[in-house]
């Protein structure tokens, strides 16, 4: 099964208007499979959510994390068991904090890398100098409330360029929720999992194996068949509330490689096979799904990168 995750959420423990308990209820009402609590620089909400989940017995899981809100960038952490101090962060050596967090078993990523920072909100833009792109796990390529072109498109392109250079980076999206905001037609993150499976382990596997999806609704699924020299793509509905597909809309599959982007129309109902020669035998392929045109406004989903041998 595929699980829908909402991976960037705040509560009254930092600067949101919803309490930890209200966050659980809001996510549950929206049919989310699992959500993260990522308050700014505190983990005080963890125990409150654990207690409420134990009491309410809702069919939803929580991923315990934090948004390290530093002077030079925001760092999203999942599976965070303890607070690690960050205050001595070095603008030119973020790897020190990344490795300390990863050493504790946390998943570490960069949130909204191109947000507006100084002079308006110091730290919101990621200004640190990264020397080792394998020192963190993922980039939040879509932070839903951020401006599309100035922030999210740049984030997506930055991640794509790093992936095409061979860096092992997963991607996520988030609502950066600070209240009961409408989540329809916004990107959510999806991973593979099992009914009743351990969400922390499933998320760790998805991030480490770079098997995350982001989507406003449907998922783009790929199946590589080397013996037949191609990849078959299909579209899978997820039931994410608020996503409406019109029959009049065309769906476009875009495959970005180092050499360019191949675009093909794809049916929602019939899988589409792309031969390796069509992508010029490229070995790193970024699959994306658009509606009607490949403008960023019409991006519907990004699927896991395909690595061919």
């Amino acid at each position: 099964m595929y699980k829908r995750l909402e991976l960037h959420n705040h509560t009254t423990e930092s600067d949101s208007s919803i309490t930890p308990r209200e966050l659980v209820e809001f996510m549950s009402d929206n049919k989310v499979d699992a959500f993260a609590i990522t308050d700014h620089n505190t983990i005080s909400g963890h125990v409150k959510i654990k207690e409420y989940l134990r009491e309410a017995k809702l069919p939803i899981s929580c991923i315990y994390g934090m948004e390290y809100t530093t002077y030079y960038g925001h760092i999203l952490c999942f599976n965070l068991k303890e607070y690690l101090p960050w205050e001595d962060i070095n603008l030119h050596k973020p790897e020190l904090l990344f490795s300390a967090l990863k050493g504790k078993g946390a998943l570490v990523g960069i949130a909204h890398p191109f947000s507006y920072g100084h002079p308006f909100a110091r730290g919101c833009r990621f200004d640190m100098t990264i020397h080792d792109y394998s020192s963190f796990d993922f980039i939040e390529i879509f932070n839903n409330p951020e401006p599309l072109h100035e922030v999210n498109e740049r984030g997506l392109l930055w991640w794509e360029e790093l992936v095409l250079k061979g860096y092992p980076l997963a991607f996520t999206s988030g609502m950066d929720l600070h209240g009961k905001w409408d989540m329809s037609n916004r990107f959510a993150t999806f991973i593979e999992g099992t009914e009743g499976g351990n969400i922390e382990e499933e998320l760790a596997a998805a991030i480490h194996n770079r098997r995350t999806w982001i989507s406003k609704g449907p998922l783009l699924i790929s199946d590589t068949d080397s013996s037949h020299g191609g990849i078959t793509f299909s579209i899978l509905a997820t039931g994410k509330p608020g996503y409406i597909h019109s029959e009049a809309d065309s769906c476009l599959l875009a495959l970005r490689t180092k050499k360019g982007t191949l675009t093909r129309e794809i049916s929602c109902k019939v899988p589409l096979k792309i031969a390796f020669r069509e992508i010029e035998e490229e070995t790193v392929i970024i699959p994306k799904l658009y509606r009607n045109s490949t403008d960023i406004e019409n991006l519907v989903a990004v699927a896991p990168v395909i690595y061919l041998k």
Partner: protein, 155 residues
């Protein structure tokens, strides 16, 4: 509760970094309150000189992007001096306040713990309070900090 420590200071425009205070408690307490306040959170006036200063910074930080006078003025009105407070007890994190309140408390008692803080059964040992300064808009920004502790009142 009795006031155990009190401090204050002045921040200059543009300061980024942290200021820490360490208080050694000589006995255990049931309740603690850390109070912090600061002034000059927002610009009182959006002058032409200020708009030019911010425009110059934006031209450097965000080259190629332009904003109308109205957007720029709104953005400047939204800018604020931003200070977080973090508390640790005996080296362990016990709370962080991100909410930008100019007067705030980190309160720990058996019946109430402030948002952002982790409940403690007893208070004792070494308390470290860190002011994490993200942004200071104006020179001579004053702050004050105090730590009070005591046994829990039954009244």
């Amino acid at each position: 509760m009795e006031k155990i420590y009190e401090a204050g200071g002045t921040l200059n425009k543009g300061f980024v970094g942290q200021i820490s205070y360490t208080v050694c408690l000589e006995k255990e307490y049931g309740e603690m309150d850390i109070a912090f306040s600061f002034d000059k959170q927002y610009y009182s006036d959006v002058t032409e000189e200020l708009k030019q200063e911010i425009t110059d910074i934006c031209n450097k930080e965000y080259p190629g992007e332009t904003a109308s006078d109205e957007v720029l003025t709104d953005a400047i009105r939204g800018m604020k001096t931003e200070i977080h407070t973090i508390a640790a007890m005996n080296g362990e994190f016990i709370g962080g306040i991100h909410k930008q309140l100019t007067e705030r408390h980190m309160h720990y008692s058996p019946s109430f713990t402030s948002d952002g803080c982790i409940a403690q059964t007893r208070i004792g040992g070494v308390i470290k309070i860190t002011l994490v300064v993200f942004n200071v808009l104006m020179d001579d920004t004053h702050y004050s900090l105090s730590l009070s502790a005591g046994e829990v009142s039954n009244v």
